[in-house]
C-alpha cells in the first residue's frame, strides 16, 4: 500500500512561527507534525507502535525506531496491528497503530468485533490518501468509505488539518480514548502533512 511512486511535500513553511503569534503558539508551531505525534505519544506513555507504512509517515516511523522509548515494528496487515495493541493494552502496555487510508478500509470487522464491543481504547493514526491532489483513482474511492465506516460505528474521529491545533487534538483524543475506553481515529490530512503528490 505504500508504493514508491510520488513524494512527500515539504512542510518547511510550518517550521517558522510568524512574529505575531504568542510564545505558546510559537512552541507548537516550531515543531513539525510528526514531532508532535512522537512527543504526544511519549507524554501519554504510549510505547508500542506497530504500523503498516505510508510515504507520509516515513520520518515519523524512522524517528520512532530511533527512540528506545518505543517498541515499533511493521505488521503484515493493519488488523494484525490492531490485535497486537489490543492485547498489549489488556496486559497494561499502551499502544497506537499507524496506517494509510486504504489500510483503514480493511478494519471494519476488527473494529466492530474487537475494539468497540470489548471497550478497548484503540488509537489509530491514518495518513489520508485519496483527496487534495490524489493521482490514483482507487485511493480516492477507498478514501470515501473511511468516514462513513467510522460514523456508522459511532466511532470518535478527527481530521487534523492545522499544525497549531494538532497537539491539542492528539493529546486530548488519546486521553479521551483511554478515559472512556473507546477507540479513536486521527486522520492526518494532506493540509497538515503535505500528503503525497505525483510530481515525477
Amino acid at each position: 500500500m505504500a508504493a514508491a511512486e510520488g513524494q512527500t511535500s515539504s512542510q518547511s513553511s510550518h517550521k517558522r512561527a510568524s512574529p505575531e503569534k504568542t510564545s505558546a503558539e510559537k512552541t507548537s508551531a516550531e515543531k513539525t507534525w510528526h514531532e508532535v505525534v512522537l512527543q504526544t505519544l511519549k507524554r501519554n506513555d504510549i510505547r508500542l507502535v506497530p504500523y503498516v507504512p505510508d510515504r507520509v509517515l516515513t520520518t515519523l516511523i524512522k524517528d520512532l525506531h530511533a527512540d528506545p522509548f518505543f517498541t515499533t515494528f511493521p505488521t503484515a496487515r493493519e488488523e494484525e496491528a490492531v490485535g497486537i495493541v489490543s492485547g498489549a493494552w489488556m496486559g497494561g502496555l499502551r499502544g497506537a497503530v499507524l496506517m494509510q487510508t486504504s489500510g483503514f478500509a480493511t478494519l471494519a470487522n476488527v473494529l466492530a468485533s474487537l475494539a468497540i464491543p470489548y471497550q478497548i481504547p484503540l488509537i489509530l493514526f491514518v495518513s489520508e490518501r485519496g483527496t487534495l491532489g490524489e493521482f490514483n483513482y482507487g485511493q480516492s474511492l477507498v478514501c470515501r468509505t473511511m468516514r462513513p465506516v467510522l460514523d456508522s460505528l459511532a466511532m470518535e474521529h478527527h481530521t487534523a488539518t492545522r499544525l497549531d491545533e494538532f497537539e491539542f487534538i492528539v493529546d486530548r483524543s488519546i486521553k479521551q480514548a483511554i478515559a472512556t475506553q473507546a477507540p479513536v481515529a486521527l486522520i492526518l490530512s494532506p493540509l497538515l502533512t503535505g500528503g503525497k503528490v505525483f510530481d515525477k
Binding site: A76, E80, G87, G95, A112, P117
Partner: protein, 204 residues
C-alpha cells in the same frame, strides 16, 4: 500440483480439541495467559475451566496470535498461550513472520488443525489437502514449530516450550467434533475479567 510436504502430519494421530485444551489447562499453575481464537477453539477453552487469565474472542477471526503477542510484549515475565484454528491462521498468516521477527520468549502458539470450517458446516479450508501449517510456520522463521504425534507428545511439546529461548508453535491434528461448551457472549466482562486476571486492574 506438488506432492504435499506434510508427511509428519500424515503420521500424526487425529486428536480431540477439548481433550487437548483440557490437558493444556491442567498444566497451568502460574497464572499463564491463554487467548482462545474465534468459535470452537474458545468454546473448548471455556469448557475446560473459566480461568481469569483466559481471553475469549467473539469475532476478529485470525487475531488470536496477534492478541497473544500483544499480551506477551506487555508482560514479558508471564507465559502466554494462544489457541487458534487452521482456518483462522490462514486468514492472518503474516503474523507468523511478525512473531518470528520479534522472537518473544514467552509465547506458545497452538494450531488446532481439522482442515475444515467446522462451525459453518464443515466445509474444507483451501489448505486442507495441500498445505502443512507447521512447515509454513518454519518457513516464516518460527524454527521452534512441530506437529504433535499424539497426546503425550503434545504435553511434551508444551513443557518444552516453557523453557524455549524463542516462540514455539505446536500443530495438532484434530477431529471434526464441535466445541464442548459455549462462551458467554459478554465482551466487556470477558475483557475486564482478563485484565483482573493479568493484574492490570483491581476489582470495582
Amino acid at each position: 500440483m506438488n506432492k504435499p510436504a506434510n508427511a509428519p502430519a500424515r503420521n500424526t494421530k487425529v486428536m480431540n480439541r477439548f481433550d487437548l485444551t483440557s490437558r493444556l489447562v491442567a498444566k497451568l499453575k502460574h497464572q499463564e495467559a491463554v487467548i482462545g481464537g474465534i468459535g470452537n477453539t474458545n468454546f473448548d477453552l471455556w469448557a475446560a475451566g473459566q480461568r481469569p487469565q483466559n481471553f475469549y474472542m467473539l469475532g476478529s477471526m485470525g487475531l488470536a496470535f496477534p492478541i497473544a503477542l500483544g499480551v506477551a510484549l506487555a508482560q514479558p515475565k508471564r507465559r502466554v498461550f494462544a489457541l487458534e484454528g487452521d482456518g483462522s491462521i490462514l486468514m492472518q498468516m503474516g503474523c507468523l513472520s511478525t512473531i518470528a521477527t520479534l522472537q518473544p520468549k514467552n509465547l506458545t502458539m497452538i494450531v488446532m488443525d481439522n482442515g475444515i470450517y467446522q462451525i459453518t458446516g464443515a466445509q474444507p479450508t483451501p489448505a486442507a489437502v495441500v498445505s502443512d501449517i507447521v512447515a509454513i510456520a518454519i518457513g516464516c522463521g518460527l524454527a521452534n514449530s512441530a506437529w504433535a504425534a499424539d497426546e503425550e507428545d503434545f504435553e511434551r511439546l508444551v513443557d518444552q516450550s516453557l523453557s524455549a529461548s524463542g516462540p514455539s508453535l505446536i500443530g495438532v491434528r484434530i477431529d471434526d467434533k464441535p466445541g464442548t461448551g459455549a462462551t458467554r457472549r459478554d465482551p466487556v466482562q470477558i475483557r475486564e475479567r482478563f485484565m483482573l486476571g493479568l493484574g492490570v486492574r483491581e476489582a470495582l
